[in-house]
Symmetry: C2
Subunit: 166 residues, 2 copies
DNA sequence: CATTTATGTCAGCCATGTTGACATATTTCG
DNA sequence: CGAAATATGTCAACATGGCTGACATAAATG
């Protein structure tokens, strides 16, 4: 069975490593051209996405999700606010906070980008069975750091971010 | 059944969109600390990875995989060559080419990084059934641009890159 | 021999990450 | 109440890794 010495105990899973690279590259590449028409980059997309999905998000929470510094965030957030994609409101109980909300314009852009990416995802899931979505989801969840998994899932499953009527 | 007007025809698949972000973030984050001890970044990792997996790769081919410019590649490649992780040999038939090879030192680093990432992948696949690997693979392949899929698979399935005995 | 090809290199710019220091308003605690 | 902690903003400088444009060299090819 086993070939004995000389055979690595856990050989790298090269195909998944490389496919993750190719898949992610194309996935995040989808929105680029649309973003470019607004003078935005991927950093703007990430901010807009998480704010849209989590209306009322605190700046500190956003920093925690993105794992960047407040100085990095400030640059792109300022542009998104200046150009009317995101607005900031004082926290109701704690007036030091600036809760973040996507404007209708911001929500529209976020939805447009997500729809584009969803086409790709739908196509990929179509090649799996009926359990495809659940399987892909379980795989991706398993790839997240065990420590941050609950926090990530809390975000993912939070439905308040579905475009609200106002 | 259908709720009629007002319901989006293809709602964004938010969970997969976000889980891809979190999963990829942690996945590529694994090697960071090791890379940092060599003064390398993720760009070095990508180059070293594909060269290790594809001994004798031409510069033009590498540029094609990474989709960056030769000027960007030059910066990191030069460091990898200078520090003995990659070596360049004249093409046997076409002496203009600089075929790229990982040195034993380079292979060792690539293997170390891949092994680290593989632990994460193995953990994730373990949560799926026996078909987990095949399913994850099919999902990721489906996420790649239809056009470049064959080329990507050609690379992924090429076995010459498995650490050769010399 | 002229042209094309494979690669390298110089110079400068841009996007997005970092650290460190400091400012402001507000809340909380002794 | 007043001191300390907290949430956020901002200035300045720097690092990484993308980009474009221009030009150089050697080798292959027609």
């Amino acid at each position: 069975m086993d070939q004995g010495a000389g055979v690595p105990v856990d050989p790298p899973i090269w195909d998944i490593i490389e496919l993750l690279y190719f898949a992610y590259r194309d996935f995040v590449g989808d929105p680029d051209s649309v973003l470019a028409t607004f003078g935005f980059g991927r950093a703007h997309h990430r901010v807009l996405h998480f704010v849209t999905r989590n209306p009322g998000l605190k700046v500190a929470e956003l920093l925690d999700i993105l794992r960047i510094t407040k100085q990095s965030l400030a640059r792109v957030l300022k542009q998104l606010v200046d150009e009317g994609f995101i607005e900031q409101r004082e926290g109701e109980t704690d007036r030091r906070q600036r809760r973040l909300f996507a404007t209708p314009k911001g929500e529209a852009l976020a939805l447009r980008l997500a729809t584009q990416q969803t086409r790709r995802i739908r196509r990929a899931l179509a090649e799996l069975g009926p359990e495809g979505h659940a399987q892909a989801r379980r795989f991706l969840v398993g790839m997240i750091n065990a420590g941050g998994r609950d926090e990530a899932l809390h975000f993912v499953d939070q439905v308040t971010g579905v475009p609200r009527r106002r």
